[in-house]
Symmetry: none
Subunit: 223 residues, 2 copies
DNA sequence: TAAAATATTTAAGCGAACTTTAAGCTAGGG
DNA sequence: CCCTAGCTTAAAGTTCGCTTAAATATTTTA
């Protein structure tokens, strides 16, 4: 198994490299974002450890660009602080997991094993309903060939609806899945975001909208 | 899969419980360490979510005692902050993974799945009587291929009848099961809703209706 | 770093859909 | 043929979801 470590602090990079090599992984190191991106595109890795704070190109950008290139190698992001916002941002850009520094090496190993154990998709996944498509790796949405710009919450909501096509999702269900589990919002917030989504996804197009209200139960996308 | 959540903040415990239940895990909650320990030893769980900060016995101690008892159920520890020391301590006492609060619900789900090593899938259940079908996840009802639109009470009533096929359900029984426990309604309300249902589910179709009155006792669906 | 632009969340009002009640009517069983 | 359980109808009451707008956060730009 071949692992790429993108980390600018040499001391850490070295320690991680040695530790992983002791577990008989093959490890390459890149010391800045640009370099990391190039290595990741040039070679085929089974896993990428990606620091967020990097010279020349930050981790989020590297991740985003790799996913946009159709590279689906599992990415484990290393964040300096464990701030929920950073985590969300990391996962939004396509990372598979994250780990807050500093971490015990055993934890890193556990995460690495978990990600490598996981069978990962090679095919590009695209969610679709009628003529609406959503590409999770590119975070892009199109309808009838026209690209649609969504905010991150709007996007998250649409993705959740699409991943549960034909299922009716209650506002509560949506609240716990699309917002942080302890987010303190009202059901009305969901209604408002549904309205925003409809304005962008349904209104500008002919025919009955794709996003359906199921009164008393919630919302549904699909037939 | 049965999961035990040990967490003293009720709001969080509730949110986690509901979220996991929506993924069709069976979830029990304990609100302090002592309680959590007792539940964990009394029942067989497939996974334990264990908060560190707990009244009466902290998470480390619970974990340690469980391991000492020879209970090897995977434990996912929830720490308030991502302090390396806490994490090490947690893993030292026998936890399998940890997660720093607050976290997006999807991250919790990912960890839970990883620990249970279970690909996520939900089998679709469909209730049926003659040519009438009801799909709980889509909240949809069809008869003879034709879709039928029901209000939420109508739907709840039909679902209850279908889940108790061939059983006669008294108006009182229906009142307590379909309406809120403390709802203050008259038996006549049930009659009215039975009529609404019949108008949508039976009248437009040939033959004797599926919803039968059992005079003096109640209603029944099925043969 | 302040200002401006965006994004998110809350709040209130309205109209439509749904629920419940009440009263008179129908019909089954003795 | 009477009595009562069940049915029907329509009006009153309630809830739900949509909209709009204003209040907060957050991110970007200058």
């Amino acid at each position: 198994m071949r692992i790429l470590v993108v980390e600018d602090e040499h001391r850490i990079a070295q320690a991680v490299k040695e530790g992983l090599e002791q577990e008989s992984y093959a490890v390459d190191v890149a010391y800045d974002g640009e370099d990391g991106y190039n290595s990741a595109t040039a070679d085929e890795y089974d896993l990428i450890l990606l620091d967020v704070m990097l010279p020349s190109m930050d981790g989020y950008t590297v991740c985003q660009k790799l996913r946009a290139d159709g590279i689906h190698t599992p990415i484990l992001m290393l964040t300096a602080k464990d701030q929920s916002r950073d985590v969300v941002k990391g996962l939004d850009t396509g990372a598979d997991d994250y780990l807050a520094k500093p971490f015990p090496f055993e934890v890193l190993l556990a995460r690495v094993r978990a990600l490598l154990r996981r069978p990962h998709e090679t095919a590009r996944e695209v969610l679709q309903a009628a003529d609406l498509t959503l590409d999770p790796s590119a975070k892009s949405v199109e309808r009838g060939g026209k690209s649609i710009a969504l905010s991150s919450k709007e996007y998250a909501l649409l993705e959740y609806l699409l991943r549960n096509q034909n299922k009716v999702l209650s506002k509560n269900n949506i609240m716990t899945h699309v917002w942080d589990f302890d987010a303190d919002i009202l059901p009305n917030t969901v209604e408002v975001f549904i309205a925003y989504l409809r304005a962008k996804v349904d209104k500008p197009f002919k025919g009955p909208g794709l996003i359906q209200t199921v009164r008393g139960f919630g919302y549904k996308i699909g037939s």
